[in-house]
Amino acid sequence: MVFSSATFLFYFLPAALALYFLSPPRGRNVAALTASLIFFAWGAPRFVFVLIATCFVDYHASRWLPRGRLPDPKRKLLLGLVVALDLGLLLYFKYANFFVAEIHGLLGWFGRPPFAWTAVVLPIGISFFTFQKISYLVDVYRGTAQVAGSAGRHLLYIALFPQLIAGPIVRYHDVAQQIDRRSTTTGLFLDGFWRFAVGLAKKVFLANTFARLADMVFDTPPSLMTTTQAWAGVLAYTFQLYYDFAGYSDMAIGLGRMLGFRFLENFNFPYASAGIGEFWRRWHISLGRFMMEYLYVPLGGNRKGHRRTLFNLWLVFLASGFWHGAAWTFILWGIWHGTLISIEKSLGPERMKRIPRPVAIAGTFLLVALGWVLFRSGTIHRAGGFYLLLFNLLPDGAGLLTFPEVMADRSLWLAAAVGIPCAFAPALGLDRFLPRDPADPDALPARTVALRFAASVLIFVLVATEMCASGFNPFIYFQF
């Protein structure tokens, strides 16, 4: 189910909120879990059983993971087995088709016919909830969190509908206490709705508008485009992806607040970063934290010398790329970022600081945008053609015939006028004009609450008009 769909906004959300708030406080976890399972079963009914079964296994295994329950080698073995089971499922569902296609390619190379294979359907959100499952198991193993109070509470942590499909990847120790005990105030609820509306606006008004240009450019053969058009498409996709994913994260955080959960932020003006390292501390923060805690640190982090640190970083980004999608383009995208961050690390912070900040921000943005070409292109061949065009190494194409229609679209220019400065707000000194997240929403001035509510309702109505008038448009990160 997509947050920006009529099914969600007009049917599921009112019903889920009614079920949740009409339940007695002690029954609210059950209400939230019921709503979450319906939410997941809506788009992927077959996989809800896989989710429940594996959560059941994880939970019961986790009871033996705390220190003292088993000898350490056995604990480690048990953790390894359960994590392997979760990763095995991810590998099967997400990567089996990719590996089989590669094997078929190899067989074809040797003149052998391909073997029969029925394509595996990817359960929605599996990349995200697999990481949450691992987070729970490792946190319990490390002793940073206690075993969940019941299998239902563990399942609620994994399946909670605001973050189930596309994150943020919530670490267990960040929400363990909230699952057991949380307070929902009217202020927090309204603040959650405001945040949800902001996310809706980012998705529907900004991301979808940028998408019109990006889709047109990336769906056209490079031979039919000019270099300028290709750059326009790359920029449009760069902002589309940001507002699409940041919008989803806002909605997830907002819905969480409406239910009394406080999730950590997932974005912090990533395009205003003055380096790739900083970019990854601001972009998809929850993934960066997960990779840091559950992969980089176990690999040895920066404790095993400079070369090993660089290798670990490179490996983490390779894994991150492959996590995003089962395709060579994603692997290359991971390698691209891994290489950039390794170079940045080798240069050292002192040399990086010598670069004037505006230049560093512009350079980082350019490098990141170039990486998104791999993210969007689908095949290496197509990405290669696109890069050649971007650097003017292909003869200029005939030009996109309908391109002027897109450029004449005033909504695109408006989205650019609002979206681009907002994406660079801290670098431009504009962030002080943007609404801030209150530590205590109930302490906000009443006038601010009223204004935010009015703006939220306006956004909601405008989104409803847009939604009724257009077709299905899922979030980009749903595919991961």
Partner: protein
């Protein structure tokens, strides 16, 4: 732990939450109670009328959820008002218009008050989409159809419908006006192919371009299709093509006695109806031109028994056939899917401008039996198609004629990859 908010503050915030609850529940309430009444939308037909039925299979394979998502979007309470509000915002703030909610294709606003449908504009802007060998193959098949029908004593004419964006480009926005070209379109390539294969056809685009300085209403400002006057002129120019085939006794070409300006028919303002706006300068009604047919010799009246096969341009074309009084029987096989009939002597074009006499005969699928039924007793067949239907292979009509009258040994060989059945959306 922050202190709890004061009671007045909680009441205020509780009131806002109550308002929000009402907002969230209102669409469901309106859908269930049908109150207050929703706004009717033009150009929109819901794909899912009834709530989809759930079975274990449809639930497990996700098709139930997918259908319900479409249903929810199409049946949400106050959808009509919401869509119209969206259209109005897009129009007033961004100068955009879209015809109907379920279509992606945008309308293009020309210099007021002309409206263009994007699908035809796109055809005039982009390079030809149909490969030349496919054009040639289709033209050869039409020639074969012409020959087979000639053996049955039936003349056959292809009438190519015009593209408004090419006929009247001057009203287009600058970004499109400078790029519109007849040579971009599949139309011109198809004309060449028909010519090479000796198919009898009417190039209405060339005709309209020639006539447009003196005929501003060949395609009305708010129409996709040719208007009544445009279709009438096309029919007048089709008759010599029939006569040239020498199969039927010479037919007189009916004269135009006068052109009356009157209230536009639904065909003449179909784009207007799809705007779904509350207010816009384009919403004003523009009178349309209706030709008044001069009397024809009594012996020529009702001589033709015509089958028109074609797309939506056929509707106004059969009006022109009826207007001429040359036809005793007119059947229209719309996309080879549904049948219509027009009753020729039912009105005098001097008194009645519109087209109230076309009646639906219901669904009529392509089959030998239906082919015999539709072609039985006919002495003229006209294929009417527009540029984006060139690659639809006459929706199977030529194959049907081959099955009815052809010798399989003489039939054109099937060209690999080009003989698939084409799904047709009757809404188009």
């Amino acid at each position: 732990m922050p202190p709890p908010p004061s009671i007045p503050r909680r009441c205020f915030q509780g009131f806002l939450i109550a308002l929000l609850s009402a907002l969230l529940l209102f669409p469901c309430f309106q859908h269930a109670a049908k109150w207050p009444a929703d706004k009717r939308l033009g150009g929109f037909n819901p794909r899912t009328r009834e709530f989809p039925a759930i079975t274990l299979r449809t639930w497990l394979d996700g098709s139930f959820a997918a259908t319900v998502d479409v249903w929810a979007r199409e049946h949400v309470g106050h959808r009509g008002w919401l869509v119209a509000l969206n259209r109005q915002i897009r129009y007033s703030c961004f100068g955009q218009v879209e015809p109907s909610p379920r279509r992606k294709r945008a309308l293009v606003i020309g210099t007021p008050p002309v409206l263009y449908e994007n699908i035809l504009l796109a055809d005039a802007l982009r390079p030809p989409q149909v490969p030349p060998e496919k054009m040639d193959y289709f033209a050869a098949r039409l020639r074969r159809t012409q020959d087979l029908l000639k053996e049955q004593g039936i003349p056959f004419v292809v009438v190519l419908a015009p593209n408004k964006a090419i006929v009247y480009p001057e009203a287009l926005p600058a970004w499109a006006r400078d790029r519109v070209s007849e040579t971009n379109s599949d139309y011109r390539a198809f004309v060449g192919a028909l010519d090479r294969h000796g198919v009898s056809f009417l190039d209405s685009l060339a005709l309209f371009r020639e006539l447009r300085p003196t005929h501003p209403d060949l395609v009305p400002p708010h129409a996709i299709h040719w208007g009544h006057e445009g279709a009438w002129i096309a029919w007048q120019h089709t008759i010599p093509l029939i006569n040239r085939q020498g199969i039927l006794p010479e037919l007189p070409v009916p004269e135009t006695e006068s052109v009356a300006m009157g209230k536009p028919s639904s065909m003449n303002q179909e784009l207007l109806g799809q705007l779904n706006l509350y207010a816009a300068p384009h919403l004003r009604t523009i009178p349309s031109a209706y030709p008044v047919a001069a009397p024809i010799p009594a012996e020529a009246a009702g001589r033709l028994r015509v089958l028109v096969v074609g797309d939506s341009f056929g509707f106004t074309f059969i009006d022109a056939l009826a207007r001429s009084r040359l036809c005793g029987e007119i059947h229209f096989w719309f996309y080879m899917r549904t049948a219509k009939t027009a009753s020729p002597p039912a009105f005098d074009s001097r008194e009645l401008h519109g087209l109230p006499h076309v009646a639906g005969l219901g669904f009529m699928k392509k089959s030998i039996e239906n082919g015999q039924r539709m072609l039985g007793g006919k002495n003229l067949v006209v294929l009417v198609l527009t540029t984006f239907n060139i690659d639809k292979f006459s929706w199977g009509f030529d194959r049907l004629v081959e099955q009815l009258y052809g010798n399989p040994d003489e039939a054109a060989p099937v060209l690999a990859g080009y003989d698939e059945e084409v799904e047709v959306n009757l809404g188009d």
